[in-house]
């Protein structure tokens, strides 16, 4: 066995400890017909944000299953990221026209990156392009031999039409696209798969932590041990509604003493974060029970400890592609109060694994509701953990990817029978 094979086997063994051996065996059998296939993923950031986190884990797992998986990252200029942030906002329905010079920069950056990546992409059996940033790469690879998929991680259910109209031209030539939930899909002339994202139970952000480490985090951030702790972990982005979270906790805190920690980092492809952070700091100024933390992109261990320390986790987004932080908190046995939007609805089953809310008042109400029903809070957390274990771990994600690749490889529309 080569060192790479040995490492892959050890990696699969570690997952088997969490998911059960049968889950890994299932993946191995599903991956067998894809052994040696070249699969290239392309996105625009190596760190920060859910896409990078998923790829950091998905690639080694695919390799462990014998697939020749790799990950490429395109490089862009500030103007490029300004443009793609406009796309992101536009796809989520908060749009404004994007200046032509920014669109020209977007196309120029993609053309330049295509020069670097062309041979890798054209040789691949499958290319998965993540989000709008690298979408035009396909148009620069006329000799491509594999299947190309566009993976949209964004809530594109109500896009700002001019932005979607522009992006659509780049997406149409793909062989298939992938959306997180059916509501996000847009009319396109190719198959559209539905694959929800996932969390990695072995990652630094999700692995079990000893109690002493939770105590260390309490001391580090001077958390009051006598006050219940609310937590929202997310980038400082208007769609995550951090201001709404501050408002909700201030409202609930009038009657039920509590403390709030907002923990966020920046993604290298998000130029708006600083402005939002400043607004949040201003809203929380003078309230000693609110802490606004700006954590580095690799603060996974700290985030893990904060999530495990919290009594209730919030993800009060007003638009959300999926909201991996919801599944992360649920995996740690916490009930989540989430915005009634996008992929959060797929994770929180209202009143069973948490609550879906539409306003800061709604979040405040549910905070008070849970803090006065501690047994229910615990029960909900346990249900949430079981639900994530069965549905939102990376092994389920990988199973769906493999099934999709097999479907594309065979060209079959319905049932495929392998080697029967």
């Amino acid at each position: 066995m080569s060192p790479a094979d040995k490492n892959g086997s050890l990696l699969l063994d570690r997952y088997a400890e969490v998911t059960g051996r049968e889950v890994i065996h299932h993946l191995q059998q599903l991956a067998a017909p894809l052994k040696g296939a070249k699969v290239v993923h392309v996105n625009s950031t190596r760190e920060g944000g859910g896409v990078a986190e998923i790829l950091q884990k998905l690639i080694p797992l695919k390799r462990a299953l014998g697939i020749d998986a790799s990950w490429e990252v395109i490089n862009g200029s500030p103007a490029f990221y300004e443009c793609t942030k406009g796309f992101h906002n536009g796809l989520q329905g908060m749009g404004s026209p994007i200046p032509k010079q920014l669109l020209a920069e977007y196309e120029k950056v993609n053309a330049a990156n295509a020069e670097e990546l062309r041979s890798t992409l054209e040789e691949a059996d499958f290319v998965v392009i993540h989000d709008p940033q690298p979408a035009p790469l396909l148009s620069h690879c006329p000799e491509r031999r594999g299947r190309w998929l566009w993976r949209c991680h964004i809530d594109a259910s109500h896009p700002y039409r001019p932005v979607w109209k522009y992006l659509r031209q780049w997406v149409i030539p793909y062989d298939a696209s992938i959306f997180s939930i059916p509501q996000f899909a847009q009319p396109l002339p190719h198959p559209q798969y539905i694959v929800a994202p996932s969390i990695d139970p072995l990652s630094e952000k999700n692995r079990d932590l000893p109690l002493e480490e939770l105590q260390t985090v309490r001391e580090r951030f001077k958390l009051d041990p006598d006050l219940p702790m609310m937590l929202q972990v997310s980038r400082y982005d208007r769609f995550k509604d951090p201001l709404g979270v501050v408002q909700a906790c201030q409202l609930a805190g009038k009657l039920t003493p509590l403390q709030l920690v907002l923990a966020g980092g920046g993604a290298s492809d998000d130029p708006e974060g600083e402005a939002v952070l400043a607004e949040v700091r201003q809203a929380a100024a003078g309230d000693s029970r609110i802490q606004v933390l700006l954590l580095p992109a690799d603060a996974h261990h700290t985030i893990n400890a904060l999530q495990r320390t919290a009594d209730i986790v919030l993800q009060k987004s007003i638009r959300e592609g999926f909201g991996l932080t919801v599944a992360e908190a649920m995996w740690k046995g916490k009930p989540v109060i989430g915005g009634d939007t996008g992929g959060i609805r797929l994770q929180i089953f209202d009143h069973y694994t948490g609550f879906l809310v539409r306003t800061p008042e709604g979040a405040a109400l549910r905070i008070r509701y849970l803090l006065h029903r501690r047994e229910l809070l615990k029960e909900m957390g346990q249900r949430a953990q079981r639900f994530v274990g069965e549905n939102f771990l990376i092994t389920r994600h990988l199973r769906e990817y493999l099934t999709m690749l097999l479907g594309l490889q065979s060209g079959t529309q319905g049932r495929m029978e392998l080697g029967l």
Partner: protein, 228 residues
């Protein structure tokens, strides 16, 4: 495990198959009951299959009230409890073919439309999106000559195998049996009681993990009783 009931049988060994499923959109969606009914009349049968039982292999909360996507939407989307109750009791196993099943679903919807003064409708964000599935079936390599040999393996079968043998089988075989029951029928009359118990398991009201546990327990109990 007992040797008395586990005599070697002549039947073909039980070949454990496994499967995985991926959802695709059909591009069709309904916002009110009339649209829903119209689409249901013409949607490919595989979409109906997906919403009635393919959902078991998809990430979802174990719906505490309704056991198929149509009933669930009638309740959560249209807020029509009467319709949700009726749709949840349309049992796929009652129909000889899937076209007949479609006709029954349409019948229930039309009846409800006749009864309503206004067409029930859902908010824009709660439209029903019709999906379909691609399913990959493969051989797990596991073979069992005698029913008793299955006992130690059942609790660890993948949910894909449970889906294939316990849910999908009812759809793909003329007898509408699960594969375990069909195989036991060829293994001799001593397994009649186990078959009866398996046939008594409601396949559409549990998660695959639950079904796996129930099937494993039925086998375990049967052979323990036989040993006594």
């Amino acid at each position: 495990m007992t040797e008395s009931t586990a005599d070697p049988v002549e039947a073909t060994p039980f070949a454990v198959r496994d499967c995985a499923l991926i959802s695709l959109t059909t591009g069709l969606k309904a916002q009110n009951l009339r649209e829903f009914c119209d689409i249901l009349r013409r949607i490919p049968l595989e979409s109906i299959e997906h919403h009635l039982w393919g959902r078991l292999l998809q990430p979802r909360f174990d719906e505490p009230e309704y056991n198929n996507d149509f009933a669930s939407w009638a309740y959560h989307g249209l807020h029509d409890k009467t319709l949700a109750e009726r749709l949840s009791m349309v049992l796929p196993t009652d129909f000889t073919d899937q076209e007949a099943l479609r006709q029954e679903l349409v019948e229930v919807l039309e009846e409800r439309l006749d009864q309503c003064e206004m067409v029930p409708w859902a908010k824009g964000e709660q439209q029903f999106h019709f999906l379909r599935s691609q399913i990959v079936v493969f051989d797990s390599g596991l073979r069992f000559s005698r029913p008793v040999d299955l006992v130690p393996y059942l609790a660890n079968l993948s949910t894909g195998s449970i889906y294939y043998h316990f849910i999908d089988a009812r759809n793909r075989t003329a007898e509408r049996w699960d594969d375990f029951s069909a195989w036991l029928a060829g293994c001799g009359p001593e397994y009649h009681l186990l078959r009866e118990r398996l046939c008594g398991v409601d396949p559409y009201f549990s998660s695959l993990q639950n079904i796996r546990q129930i099937v494993a327990e039925l086998f375990q109990t049967f052979f323990e009783e036989a040993a006594q």
